[in-house]
């Protein structure tokens, strides 16, 4: 497709190359470290689930015991493999014994690394087979039922009660939604464990638990059969349990997951070393099972100004793309994020939004771009809000966005009511249908406002990326270049959960999922 923005491909290539170097540089750090949540992910994949008698999830109980004994650098895969060799029990039985205080896993006699590997590999293969079966099932259902047309209409449910969420989600699907995101409860991102079981109490959202995933998956499959359209399910692989939740998502066939290399650092004050290591395994899982990830660049525009900081969004998209490539994620699974967040009082604001959205599409032609609605400048004036959302929808269909997170007229007041969702779906359907081929018809004036703005943004993004490459990602974040938020390298939540890998460390899943052998 011909560029409508008259972009200088050399600048785009240069920005991409800087991002690749930035990610490569981080990858060395990542490869030298593991985290408690990465290790708990391995346990979950080895079949460990459930809680002890005081409701501590067993993956936590086991990892904590190993960590306290100083055994984390070896990795839980070894310790479980060893325990299997020594006791003849399976991982779940071993974890239950640890939970009951009957077993100290690091005090057992030790076998060789090779023997431990041999013990767990059949389970590893079994788990990978289960995940692949889920991926195949998704393909089968999409093939048989069909799916909505892009931009996918993406809405959220956030009642706090998974059963109420089911009702809202099925209603939304019947009204035309293609993707249902179950918003997570306030502050789950800072829990260093994943709660267990079905839950009915949350604030501003519902706990992400494996059982809740299962309940919602089943409900969406049911309604999908009924209306003859596959309904995608989205949740958050973010926060302190990023990779664990990705694992649950892979096992329960989620289709879309929020997952950003930097969001947790900036907006949840999670330690940056922790997040950077955690995001790697979560992305490997996401890549492996065909989930579309959504990055969180839109959030920068809530704490920074969208006009001034447009290039930070583009820069971050390049970085998220580069990290995704290292985790073997296909372009079609890259839901790079951006948002319609300019102050509505700016003259020509719509043109600048159009420039940014067109730019994003041209720079990432195959990505499943996630476009976020106006939120910060939504007010209690719901009538004006509905118009803001209509302009946002117009840009989305015009510039071929992929995942359209539908704006709600009541954004400034509460999480969506049932009819808010109906009104926003109706708004999107009207605009998408009415302006379906607008993008094919319209080109932009050479040297006009739109082209100039886009060229300016990409140039600034390239310059920022060059600076980050020079400086390193960690110290860039320390200086507050993204979202205007500064975070220290050793500050924030969860640093104590980061550990150096020992010489004999192994994680069987990452190499297998990246398509190799261990």
């Amino acid at each position: 497709m011909k560029s409508k923005l008259n972009l200088d491909q050399k600048v785009v290539d240069s920005a991409r190359a800087h991002a690749a170097h930035i990610a490569r540089d981080m990858q060395d750090f990542i490869e030298r470290h593991t985290t408690v949540s990465t290790e708990r992910t391995i346990l979950r994949f080895l079949g460990i689930d459930g809680v002890d008698d005081v409701d501590n999830p067993l993956p936590n109980v086991v990892v904590d015991q190993i960590k306290e004994a100083g055994g984390l650098p070896t990795g839980v895969a070894y310790w479980i493999g060893n325990a299997m060799v020594q006791t003849g029990k399976n991982p779940q039985e071993i974890a239950e014994e640890v939970g009951a205080g009957k077993l100290e896993i690091t005090k057992l006699p030790t076998c060789t690394q090779e023997e431990a590997k041999q013990a767990i590999m059949p389970i590893v293969h079994e788990t990978l087979k289960k995940i692949k079966a889920q991926t195949a099932k998704r393909e089968e259902l999409i093939g048989r039922l069909g799916e909505g047309r892009e931009p996918y209409k993406y809405v959220i449910v956030a009642t706090g009660n998974i059963y109420e969420d089911v009702l809202q989600a099925q209603a939304a699907a019947r009204q035309g939604a293609d993707i249902i995101a179950v918003i997570r409860t306030t502050a789950q991102s800072l829990l260093d464990y994943v709660p267990f079981g079905a839950t009915t109490e949350g604030f501003g959202g519902t706990y992400a638990t494996q059982e809740n995933f299962r309940i919602m998956r089943k409900a969406l499959d049911e309604v999908g059969e009924e209306i003859g359209r596959y309904i995608r399910l989205c949740n958050y692989s973010s926060g302190m349990c990023m990779p664990e939740i990705a694992a649950m998502g892979a096992l329960e066939r989620l289709d879309v997951m929020l997952n950003d290399a930097i969001y947790g650092i900036l907006f949840r004050d999670i330690n940056m070393q922790r997040t950077i290591v955690d995001q790697f395994m979560s992305r490997v899982i996401i890549g492996y099972c065909g989930i579309i990830f959504n990055s969180g660049e839109d959030n920068y525009l809530t704490t920074d100004d969208a006009y001034e900081a447009g290039h930070t969004v583009t820069s971050s998209q390049f970085i998220n793309e580069a990290f995704a490539l290292l985790a073997n994620i296909k372009e079609e699974q890259m839901g790079l994020g951006h948002a319609f967040e300019m102050d509505p009082s700016i003259e020509d604001g719509f043109l600048y939004e159009l420039a940014q959205a067109t730019l994003t599409r041209e720079v990432f032609p195959k990505a499943r771009l996630k476009y976020m609605p106006p939120t910060k400048f939504m007010t209690g004036n719901i009538f004006k809000g509905h118009v803001q959302d209509a302009l946002f929808n117009l840009i989305a269909v015009w510039t071929n966005q992929s995942l359209q997170l539908l704006g709600m007229l009541t954004e400034a007041i509460h999480t969506p009511h049932m009819h808010d969702r109906y009104l926003s779906i109706e708004n999107a359907e009207y605009v998408f249908n009415n302006a379906r081929h607008l993008g094919d018809e319209i080109e932009f004036k050479e040297g006009g406002i739109i082209q100039s703005r886009a060229q300016d943004v990409i140039k600034k993004a390239d310059a920022l990326l060059a600076e980050i490459e020079e400086e390193g990602l960690f110290s860039t974040i320390e200086k507050g270049k993204f979202g205007g938020v500064k975070r220290p390298k050793d500050g924030g939540h969860g640093l104590e959960g980061v550990s150096i890998k020992g010489d004999n460390y192994f994680n069987p899943f990452i190499p297998m999922m990246l398509g190799g052998e261990i």
Binding site: G160, Q170, A171, R174, Q175, T186, A187, L190, F203, G204, F267, R268, D269, T302, T303, K376, A412, H414, T415, H417, M418, H419, Y422
Partner: protein, 266 residues
């Protein structure tokens, strides 16, 4: 209110009996939108009508209704309000004192307090929203209103978000704050009430309640609510650093803390 606003084409508004205005005085016209958990159909329409009537509206008119999903119907209904309100007897609790601008505040503190005013602020407990408290404290402020960091004779500490009450109180003690500024944005299931109440209780338990000014703010906070919860003042949308500081500095004077920068002496 100017007299031009209280007269319409041919009638004088009776401010002791006010009702909604559509296009004719006292027509009482109101538009409403809501969902009922009933299946779409004639019975649904009638149910909506009767409900609106019971709510005190005459001539209920279902302008639009639509099935949301089996068992749920959405309505847009018009009605004519029957109730009236006596505008002349309305009393709204307001934060006391004169509101001055940034520069005036700085000068006023210099002249009347003779020392820096110290405040600590945070978005507390589970709340991760910082933009509100940043709007009040950070240099750049919000919507063209500079934050407290730009004020002369004011020393603000911004602790950010998800700050446990205990930590905010400890900071207030450490820096001898004159005021603690608490922000709350998430209100779902009244979580802000829980968090704000916890703060008051802890401040009381620490014996600090009359040694520090306690103010809160956020999109759903009013001065009235703040007072009910045991705060000295509350600030909602449209309130900026100058509003808070005008209040705090005048309160410091009222309490005679000019020469008492240390909490222990108050």
């Amino acid at each position: 209110m100017s007299s031009a606003c209280t007269t319409t084409a041919n009638t004088q508004v009776d401010l002791t009996k006010v009702k909604p205005y559509g296009d004719t005085l006292n027509d009482g016209k109101v538009e409403m939108a809501f969902t009922l958990p009933v299946p779409y159909g004639d019975e649904a329409e009638e149910t909506a009508k009767q409900l609106v009537k019971k709510m005190g509206f005459d001539e209920p008119n279902v302008a639009y209704y639509q099935e949301l999903c089996p068992g749920y119907t959405f309505f847009v209904v018009y009605g004519a309000a029957q109730q009236t309100i006596d505008y002349t007897s309305i009393v709204v609790p307001k934060v006391s004192g004169t509101v001055m601008d940034r520069v005036e505040c700085g000068d006023w503190i210099g002249e009347n307090i003779g020392r820096d005013i110290v405040v600590v602020g945070a978005s507390i407990e589970s709340d991760a929203h910082t933009v509100g408290i940043d709007a009040i404290i950070q240099m750049k402020g919000f919507h063209g209103h500079f934050g407290l960091e730009r004020f002369k004779n004011v020393v603000p500490y911004n602790m950010g978000s998800q700050v446990p009450c205990e930590q905010l109180i400890a900071k207030a003690k450490e820096v001898n704050a004159d005021a603690i500024l608490v922000s709350q944005t998430v209100t779902q299931k009244d979580i802000h009430i829980m968090n704000l109440t916890k703060m008051v209780e802890l401040v009381e338990a620490e014996g600090l309640r009359d040694k520090v000014i306690l103010a809160c703010g956020g999109p759903r906070i009013s001065h009235e609510l703040a007072q009910e919860l045991g705060y000295d003042a509350g600030f909602g949308p449209g309130k900026y650093a100058e509003h808070v500081m005008s209040y705090v500095m005048q309160e410091v004077q009222k309490r005679g803390w000019e020469k008492k920068p240390n909490i222990a002496d108050r």
